[in-house]
Symmetry: none
Subunit: 203 residues, 4 copies
DNA sequence: GATGAATGAGGGTTCATTCAT
DNA sequence: CATGAATGAACCCTCATTCAT
């Protein structure tokens, strides 16, 4: 039976400062493990130990392993939305190329920050029921991009947004796997890919 | 310690007709499970059961779970190479757009055949040591694409080949996740993306 | 590949009273099984069951079956060293025959306590990498005996110590297998064997 | 339930030359495995493979794994009896020291021939029901030794025979484990041990 | 007889989760 | 609330033995 969405919410709103801290420690430990040893090495006992918390406490804050993952995903989505928001904002009055460049760089920075982590979370995301907030964050982000593309006169902006992000994701993921680390070079290729796709579409 | 490559080779060359059948059944069952329930649901007991075979038999033919995965990956790579080979062949005397179109369609068909499976295998592939044959199949495929791009006058064809494939992979994967199934539409967008990227590069 | 020494160390220092108890129960159950049904009947499930503990608990304290064996061996070596130490101490100012008698009796008592167990552990010991403490316990014991023999003017005391212990071990083992239980009689024969060997050597 | 003795007999008296050969191949393969990789590595599939025989055929000749072991033990006992017989024969008219020397050397040669094998078989022997022939071989050997000791005027010759053999076994086993290979040195120490024990007894 | 494919009980180990203290 | 001991379902894999061909 697929796990219910209720089970993905943090068990309690941590009011006390101390609680908020513990909660953050747990998430940080989990991030760390995923980034360094991979998603398959993530297990609740290890997280608790690395967070300096007893396994019992961990279960006070999160109803289960997947809730931790869900929280990480939510966090990632929040960060991402913020980055995109800022990029969109700064690109408000720019031409297509510049606006795209800002978006692409935002996405790229996101992946470069914690390459393995973001990859793993995106995978996990697709195999899990998403809570309402995460879904909202995803739609907000999509709407934002769609808005930009629409304003720039792109046809079928919903689809274009999807494709453009997927392209970037694919290229960046593959480049990272191949060991590339040159931000500027990657940024260049992404811009070319995106503008190429968009240009070809409107041509 | 990362698992040794030896552990990925089939254990026994099936000599009798019966055993060739068993071997195939095991691989088919594994494919099926991955396609339907995901890579994380793959386990040797389930494979054996679904293949209508005892767990002991499974281990006669494969030294372990990962050997089954390795075999599936090898199979996928063989199919893919064959598809690409034929596309390259048919595109021999065509112009850039047509040649690209053939390649893109080959790749697309590949993904559409078993969407979840090919995705999962590609992921698994990146977390496993590859046997010699699989590596050779990958390089052969890469060389083929590089050759085509080179002949078409693309600059830095190695990188372009990587990017182009990664873009396609990204777009297709995302589209499939979103439930798209319209081959022609997808084919169109992929062509646009690829020619856009390549065109922008030479511009 | 021979198992690494790391795998032989207990996993967790028991902190609470309850867990110290569990740990001891596990070792006692293992001892029991070996003593009664033989080394080949030792398996983790049985140990857990007999210890009245879940299999999971067993693995909390021991990283595997061999770690349990290693712990038993260490325990045996500790006891043995203590026994020998006390025998050497009490024999400090005695003549050869008495000193030997004390040592022989110490060794004999050791075997009589848990005949099958000590035999099995000694066998297991020779087929396993030893952790540092166990090795130290063995050398300490050897050094102790060598010291005594040396003080008594025995030539080549290292070799004599080895031979003497091996002789005793052989005789006792065989006698126990044959069902003998008369401590005094055995003690007598061992003294004869040892003094005979040592006497013949110096003659 | 302890396995019945009937199950330890070879399944059929091989009349044909070919059969006898297969049977010997199986036993040779088993010996080899034990000598090189230890008793715990002995398994029927491996034996069959190493013997160049199908697993099915192996079971034609031996009703099970333990029957193979039993056959090896019987063989060992036969050899041993023959060696002892010859040593006793040659020592017929010699003095105690020489007679003992011959016996000791016979035993020593036995162990040196296949150190690990003889050790393993002796261990296996003590954990298995013995068939009539093996038991007879053991008693015959014992009787032979007892006869010699009796003739030489040793008191309680049954016990002395046991002890003497056990001593030798212990010393040789330990020396081999320690890597010694010098036959003459070992022979010397064994003679000293045996004559010391026997001398001390009669003194 | 010979073959080797197939079987499945048995044993090792992990890890998400619960609960007594 | 925190702790960490305990649980046991779920997996992985081996190997003695059987049986259809």
């Amino acid at each position: 039976m697929p796990e219910t969405i209720a089970a993905l919410h943090p068990r309690k709103r941590p009011r006390q400062e101390r609680s908020r801290r513990t909660c953050a420690d747990i998430l940080a430990a989990a991030s760390d493990i995923i980034e360094v040893k991979g998603l398959s090495a993530l297990n609740t006992n290890l997280v608790a130990e690395r967070a300096g918390v007893s396994i019992g406490s961990l279960y006070q804050y999160f109803p289960g392993k997947n809730a931790i993952l869900a929280a990480l995903i939510r966090e990632m989505r929040r960060d991402m939305l913020a980055d995109i928001l800022s990029a969109v904002d700064r690109g408000k009055n720019q031409d297509l190329a510049s606006a795209i460049g800002l978006l692409v760089d935002a996405s790229l920075r996101h992946h470069l920050r914690h390459p393995a982590l973001s990859e793993a979370l995106e995978r996990a995301e697709s195999e899990m029921p998403l809570d309402a907030e995460t879904q909202a964050l995803k739609s907000d982000k999509a709407a934002l991009i769609v808005g930009v593309l629409d304003r720039l006169g792109i046809e079928n902006p919903r689809q274009a947004a999807m494709d453009v992000f997927a392209m970037c994701h694919g290229i960046v993921h593959t480049a990272l796997q191949a060991g590339e680390t040159d931000f500027d070079d990657l940024s260049d290729r992404l811009r070319r890919a995106v503008t190429g796709y968009l240009g070809a579409g409107t041509a």
